[in-house]
Amino acid sequence: MAWWQIEAALSDAGCAERARLYAQAADLAEDPGQRRFLLTHAWVHALSAGDAGQVSELEDALHALGGL
C-alpha cells in the first residue's frame, strides 16, 4: 500500500485497523523521526483496541527508536 492509500483507508477504520495501517505507514517511512511518529499513532490505536500482542511489538519498536 502506498501512503496515499493508507491515508484514505484511515478515515473509515476502527482502532485495530488504524493501528495496523499506521504500522504499515511507519514501515514506509525512511526518516527515523517520522517512523517513530507513525509508530506512536499505531501504538495509541493498538492500546485503544486492547491488542496486547501488537502493543508489545510496537513498544519494543518505540523503545528502539527512543520513543519510550
Binding site: R36, F37, H41, W43, L47, S48, A49
Partner: protein
C-alpha cells in the same frame, strides 16, 4: 435564601421534637442559592447514589454520569470491579467519555490522546516529549492517573463520596444492612429494559423523599394500593440521621398466574411483609420476598427531579426468563402506576412552597415522624 440568623433559627425549629417542629423552610425548595449550599453539604459532604451496577455489566463497560454538575465515569474494570472516576483527563481537563460504551482497551482522551487503563492509571502520553517522544520528566505517569472516588454497591445501587471525612462505605451502610440483613448480601438480578423507567417531577428532590417515607397518604393518593396494603397494616421505620420509611405487614399484590420465586431461605416474617426506606439523601428502596426496587433521585434544579426506577428479582430466570415476562410487565405497570399517583402531590407541595406564609408546616407526631426524621437529617447537615 434566608440570612444566617434566620436560617439558623429555621433549622433549629426543624430539629425540635416532631410534635413541636416546623418543616424545612421554603427557600430550601425554591432558592438557587440554597441549592448550591445543599449540593455541597448534603450531597458532596457524604455518600450519595449516582447509578446502578447493572449499567456496566461487562469488563470495559463505561457510563458517563453528571452528578449535580460533577462529571463522573462509572466503569467495570478488567477484574470485574466497579469503579468511579472523575470523567476528566488529568492533562487539560477534557471530558473523556461522552456516551456509554465498551472499551476493549484503554480510555483515550479525544484531545491529545492521553490514554488511561481501566484501573485509572495513565498508560500513554503520546508526543508528550515532542513528536514521537512519548515520555517526559515533567509528567510522572505513576502519579497522574484518573481521580478515583470511593464507591460502594448496595442492592444494585452505586454510591460515591467526594469527602475525605465521610466514613467507610461499609460503616455508612451498616445500619441498613443490619435492618435488611435478610437481603443485604444476596445478589439481585435486574429485570432488563422492562424493569427500568424514569419519571420527571416538577418538584424538589426532597419532596419525593418526604412523600416516599410516610404511609399517611396511602388511602388518599393510592386507592388501588390501599386495597391490598392498608394504612393500618403499616408501621414507621426510623434510623435517625441515616434513613426512614415505612413497612407493611400485608404485601399481597395480584401479579397474574406466574408468581416470582422468593429469595431463598427468607425468614417467615417476609412472607407477607415489605419495607420501603429512603436512604438519605437520594435513593428510595423497596424490598419484598420476591423482588426489590431502587429509585435514584436525580436533582435537576430546585424545582425539578428525575426518578430513575429499577426493579430487581431473586433469580436470573425471574429477571429475564420468558416464563416470567408477563408477571414482570404486570409488576412494572403496578409500580409505575403507584409512583405516578404520587406526582401531583409532590408537584403541589412544590408550588405551595412559593407561598410566603407557609412556614414549613406542622407534623403529626403520630403519622409524620419518618418525614420529620428526614428533615432533621437535612437540617443537621446544613447546620454543620
Amino acid at each position: 435564601m434566608p440570612d444566617g440568623n434566620d436560617l439558623t433559627r429555621a433549622l433549629g425549629d426543624v430539629m425540635r421534637p416532631v410534635g413541636e417542629a416546623r418543616g424545612l423552610p421554603n427557600a430550601l425548595y425554591t432558592d438557587p442559592a440554597a441549592e448550591a449550599v445543599e449540593r455541597q453539604r448534603v450531597f458532596l459532604g457524604g455518600w450519595s447514589c449516582i447509578g446502578f451496577a447493572h449499567e456496566v455489566p461487562q469488563p470495559g463497560d463505561a457510563v458517563p454520569i453528571d452528578h449535580l454538575g460533577t462529571p463522573l465515569l462509572m466503569l467495570r474494570d478488567r477484574d470485574g470491579q466497579l469503579r468511579v472516576f472523575e470523567n476528566v483527563c488529568r492533562h487539560r481537563g477534557m471530558i473523556l467519555v461522552e456516551t456509554a460504551r465498551n472499551f476493549p482497551g484503554v480510555i483515550r482522551c479525544p484531545y491529545h490522546s492521553w490514554c488511561y487503563a481501566l484501573d485509572g492509571s495513565l498508560r500513554a502520553t503520546p508526543h508528550v516529549g515532542g513528536p514521537g517522544v512519548n515520555h517526559h520528566a515533567s509528567v510522572d505517569r505513576s502519579r497522574t492517573g484518573l481521580t478515583e472516588l470511593r464507591s460502594g454497591v448496595f442492592l444494585g445501587a452505586v454510591f460515591v463520596t467526594f469527602s475525605a471525612h465521610a466514613p467507610e462505605f461499609e460503616d455508612w451502610i451498616a445500619p441498613l444492612t443490619e435492618r435488611w440483613s435478610d437481603f443485604a448480601d444476596r445478589p439481585v438480578f435486574h429485570g432488563g429494559a422492562e424493569a427500568s423507567f424514569a419519571l420527571e417531577l416538577s418538584a424538589n428532590w426532597k419532596l419525593a423523599v418526604e412523600n416516599y417515607c410516610e404511609s399517611y397518604h396511602l388511602p388518599w393518593v393510592h386507592p388501588s394500593l390501599n386495597t391490598y396494603s392498608k394504612l393500618e397494616d403499616h408501621y414507621h421505620i426510623e434510623m435517625p440521621r441515616c434513613f426512614s420509611g415505612q413497612g407493611t405487614t400485608v404485601y399481597a399484590p395480584d401479579l397474574g398466574e406466574t408468581a416470582f420465586p422468593d429469595f431463598p431461605n427468607l425468614p417467615s416474617r417476609w412472607a407477607r411483609a415489605a419495607e420501603y426506606i429512603a436512604l438519605y439523601p437520594n435513593v428510595l428502596f423497596g424490598v419484598h420476598r420476591d423482588h426489590t426496587f431502587a429509585i435514584r433521585l436525580e436533582p435537576l434544579g430546585q424545582g425539578r427531579t428525575r426518578e430513575h426506577v429499577e426493579i430487581f428479582y431473586s433469580t436470573p430466570e425471574a429477571a429475564t426468563g420468558a416464563a416470567f415476562a408477563a408477571s414482570r410487565q404486570a409488576n412494572t405497570t403496578l409500580w409505575k402506576q403507584v409512583f405516578k399517583e404520587d406526582i401531583f402531590v409532590v408537584e403541589g407541595m412544590q408550588r405551595g412552597r412559593s407561598a410566603p406564609g407557609f412556614d414549613g408546616g406542622r407534623f403529626s407526631a403520630v403519622m409524620d415522624s419518618p418525614t420529620h426524621c428526614f428533615h432533621d437529617w437535612v437540617a443537621d447537615r446544613l447546620a454543620r
